[in-house]
Homo-oligomer: 412 residues x 2
Amino acid sequence: MKSFITYGRDSHFPIENIPFGVALINGEKRIVTAIGDYVLDLKMLEGIGYIFQEKKVFQTETLNEFMGCGKKVWTDARNRIQKLLDADNAELRDSEVIRNECFHLMKDVEMVLPVSIGDYTDFYSSREHASNVGEMFRGKENALMPNWLHIPIAYHGRSSSIIVSGEDVRRPKGQTRPDPNAAPVFGASKQMDFELEMGFFIGTGNNLGENITVENAEEHIFGMVVVNDWSARDIQAWEYQPLGPFLAKNFATSISPWIVTLDALQPFRTEGPKFEKELLPYLQTKGNPTFDINLEVKLKSGKMDEAVMICESNYKYLYYNMRQHLAHHTVNGCNTRTGDMMASGTISGPTKDARGSMLEITWRGTEPIKLPSGEERKFIEDGDTVIMRAYAKGENYTVGFGEVKAKLLPAK
Amino acid sequence: MKSFITYGRDSHFPIENIPFGVALINGEKRIVTAIGDYVLDLKMLEGIGYIFQEKKVFQTETLNEFMGCGKKVWTDARNRIQKLLDADNAELRDSEVIRNECFHLMKDVEMVLPVSIGDYTDFYSSREHASNVGEMFRGKENALMPNWLHIPIAYHGRSSSIIVSGEDVRRPKGQTRPDPNAAPVFGASKQMDFELEMGFFIGTGNNLGENITVENAEEHIFGMVVVNDWSARDIQAWEYQPLGPFLAKNFATSISPWIVTLDALQPFRTEGPKFEKELLPYLQTKGNPTFDINLEVKLKSGKMDEAVMICESNYKYLYYNMRQHLAHHTVNGCNTRTGDMMASGTISGPTKDARGSMLEITWRGTEPIKLPSGEERKFIEDGDTVIMRAYAKGENYTVGFGEVKAKLLPAK
């Protein structure tokens, strides 16, 4: 496949991708896709009849209506957009007036939150992450809780504070107890962290009382994004027992603006890890249930000109896959709705350089990292920018997610 | 105050109340209030100009638009509705044609979910409940976690599965580990429980990065409902560490259909409990920060003709109040939005008959209760109906919430 729009083989947005997002164009939120260095205005193309669907779904300010239409509509739309961008198809290629209107340089447009998000769930599906954290807090022998190898552990997160790449994050205040023998204190968090995650969006949901099986799960999943699950470790340590993380997480969760469809990820299917304990039948998946997606985290302090790589991981390292996430989430009859987001939990890998949080990278602050600027970091400092990128490598092309980037501002 | 609609002094819906809800009338969702045994169609009254507001807010299918207008609009609307119902005011009293159209017998209309709920948070604010549960699982010495007397502990719940009174609940399936030395098993929960709670709805929210103080909290709160936080104890016990309850709760949460405003609850203000440890300043409240609201739970098995009382508690027993809930929730800059719901956690009281869950009433099944039918109950069985009611007692009147009622259906 070749487009009349040109781009390099490392571009995240070749004709093989066709992600979906929402851009602010002339002050209006418009549904778009990305190709090379451009965003392509799908609202306009649908409006003038270049994209024809039973129902017009690109005229709204979020992707929800489109996402609710189901897999056939998603696939048909992607196919049609690829056809429009095809170097051998004259329709759009030779319509100069329309081309001048519908393409915008990506660097000139602001991307906004693409989905009206209903419920947000965060899993805890990296064995390496759960083991690292467990070892730090409970010792090596008891690193994994007894349930971990049987259940994709998860908790409900806060959807109101999910923000898009580019929005700054304010350091939260809260209760911590730095001295276990003294009373708690109030103030700005001193242990700000990121968590490298990926998330998927529900396209079509299920009714209350029904469930989605591992076999059908992917039919319900619209696509994926990169997620930075910002965490305040000192607030978390003091508040999390017995009901889990709350204020340590719900001040901000950043996502990348482009939703990459499962259709675009098909060439990158791969096996998951071997399961150490036999899973209950409702969690058993066949074939290649996960995806080979490279993940990177870079950090840039206010004194640095260029960001430095601090983590290289891969989505395939996750112990539990998306099919298992969705099957587990609904096995009790819990309903899901168009626009719900489910994140993976921190994706750490088997090596030290694949640790997906500062907590793990600096082993709770005991092994600070050195930055090229000469600065040291135990956790994230005010003015630091965290940039996460994800991409899958084909033979001559890349299917990428772009990035999720956010700067930490000082507490108010 | 006296209405031309007559009712007894125990009616939950006197002219002093004026709760808000949404009823299905001729197949259409319409915003209504309650008076005596009637629902009153506010959509119609606004439509014909009997209720005049700057913006028409009763023409939609949920209360969200009205709730987003802020406290002055809520108070003005309530005052105007009271005026319309006043025995001394001829406007509605003597307009027979309109009266015949806008009143419907409550028993003839179905109530639906009144709000499009965004995020749902569940607190854990009853000291008696936290102590009872802690004692059962960790022994009397360690009953309360060290953070409990300093923080209103909470977790995020699932909003998609919040249902309204009258909807049946399906017993969930899931993973449990009845034998701690064997592998987990899959099947229907065997320890179904209710939790007696109350919840409040956010009317006007706060922006990300800002916070709501204890002093301003009540300006943001639209009103309250009764909540049954259905819980599957065996699923909970196996899944909850370390991130809190998930599938044990998210299969269903039932709420009462009428939202009682804080204006209606003013006469029932009361002190809360004394705080054993001095709270951090952002959690210190003055005056009478809570409300004297009687709470009841009744149970009816399939063999019984009448429900039997199994719990009598009171909202005022809660250690932490709503002002503290909202101030704590936002102290880290977490944003809230119109329609968010925050529940209290199980409201148990100081006496045995004030325990707000079967877990506590039967002390984890070790002290089953006897029903008038001769049956025994450790937990809730298929075909059982759980009915919760809440009401505040004035000198000659009652301000009530009606009930939240749901029957447990067998697992599929």
